[in-house]
Structure formats: structure tokens, C-alpha cells
Symmetry: C2
Subunit: 110 residues, 2 copies
DNA sequence: ACACATGGTAAGCATACACTTACTGTAAGC
DNA sequence: GCTTACAGTAAGTGTATGCTTACCATGTGT
């Protein structure tokens, strides 16, 4: 399924931005409202909204309406997409790397 | 060694670019010279060089001089950095998600 | 119903960055 | 030694995008 890389690409691009990553990591502590996220962050509230929209489009977060607040939480779907892609890459990397293992031995714990 | 997230950030940013990802994925087939990579790609040779430099800085590829050719191969180090970061995120995501598992069960794959 | 709070959207700006065409350096082949 | 091939670097350009301020929509509490 070559179409599997597409969501991974979106998720990768989404997490490439430092602010977005920071936002995402903050959601690890649990669901948060937009204002709550903007309060402790370094950028304005609209910026947070835009970033959350990108993360949502990438399947990395999920939003729930709670009155006038909008609560965002981590959605494992996007993370799973990245993980699948990474595992695929990892296989190829090992295949390629196994031939070099004997001659190259940088700091690497077994 | 507490700056483990930094390499992950670089690697994430490097792989966020489609061309760079394409380049990286092409290296799964094995080590390739720059001209070889540019030959089948969509961008010019200098662009490939620049992208390879970024990938190298991110610890994702490794280069070896072979006469006038410069052969690039996948370096698992960058991939490992991403994987470590991902695993960390995954733990948090699961922790957050476990409470929601029962009520959420949508899949709109077709 | 009115006022306040919360958050998404619009428009605009400023920087970053992916790509190109030249140029330079270096190693192989004659 | 000279020419040819291969690759990295410089300089410049166009577009994408992250951020801001202003505005609009929705929901809640009195």
C-alpha cells in the first residue's frame, strides 16, 4: 500500500515545527483547552489555533467541544502512521547497514 | 546526554521535506553516489547535494569518498533518534488515550 | 436579552527555505 | 600535464509558512 506514506508525510511535516512539537508534547500531560495551551506557550492564541488545526489534519490530535472551550487531546493515529513508516525505513536501514556493521562501530549500545 | 531531543528535532525537520524523504527512501536500496541519486530524481544535482548535507547533519546519512564519486548511505543514528523520541511520545499518548479508549472507536478507512 | 468569554478565521507581513544557474575544487583518464 | 567528470559552494529568486493584529461566530451566565 503505497498510500500509507501519505499520512506519515503529513504527520512528519506537522511535527517538524518546534512550536507544534512543543504544543504536542504539552498535550502529553492530558487534554487541554486552546486558551490553556496558549497561556503557557510563547505564541499568541490564534497561532495556537492554527497549529492545532495542522496537527488535527495530520491525525495527531483530536478536538472535543466543551461549551465555549475546545479541548484538544492526543490522537494516536498520527503517531501510529509515523511509527509504521519508521519501521519500514528501519528495515531498509538495517538491511543496508548490516554489510557495514563489521567495519563501522561507532558508539552504539547493543 | 540530556539533550536527546535535539537530534530528534533535526531528523524530524530533515525528513519533513518530500524531496529529502524521497532521497532517503531511495537510499534504502543501498549506497548511491550523488549523480546517481540526481539522475532518477526530480531536482538538480546541487539540490541533491544540499539535501544530502541536511540529512547528514541530522545523522540520517553518512558519506564516503570513492574517487571522484561520493557515496551516501543510510546512517541508523538519526533514525534511532526519531524512534527514541517517538517511543517517548507514544508512552504519553497511551497514558492519555487509555482513558478514552472505551468511548472512541472510529475508523474511516475505505 | 445582554454582556462576557472563548476560539476560529481573514488579511498581511517577514522570514525561512527549496531550487536554480554559475563557479570552484578535486580526482581519474588520455 | 592537460582535459574531462563528478560534487560541493555561492549567489540569487520565488514561494511557502509561521506569526501577528483585527474581526466574527458561538456559547454561557446573570
Amino acid at each position: 500500500m503505497s498510500k500509507k506514506s501519505a499520512p506519515a508525510a503529513t504527520a512528519l511535516a506537522a511535527l517538524a515545527d518546534p512550536t507544534r512539537r512543543q504544543l504536542f508534547e504539552r498535550l502529553r500531560s492530558g487534554p487541554r483547552a486552546v486558551g490553556e495551551l496558549a497561556r503557557g506557550g510563547t505564541v499568541s492564541r490564534p497561532a495556537v489555533s492554527q497549529h492545532l488545526a495542522v496537527l488535527k489534519a495530520a491525525g495527531l490530535v483530536r478536538d472535543t467541544a466543551a461549551g465555549t472551550r475546545r479541548v484538544y487531546e492526543i490522537d494516536p493515529k498520527g503517531l501510529a502512521a509515523i511509527r509504521a513508516w519508521l519501521d519500514d525505513m528501519w528495515g531498509g536501514a538495517l538491511q543496508n547497514f548490516s554489510a557495514e556493521l563489521e567495519k563501522d562501530n561507532d558508539e552504539r549500545e547493543s
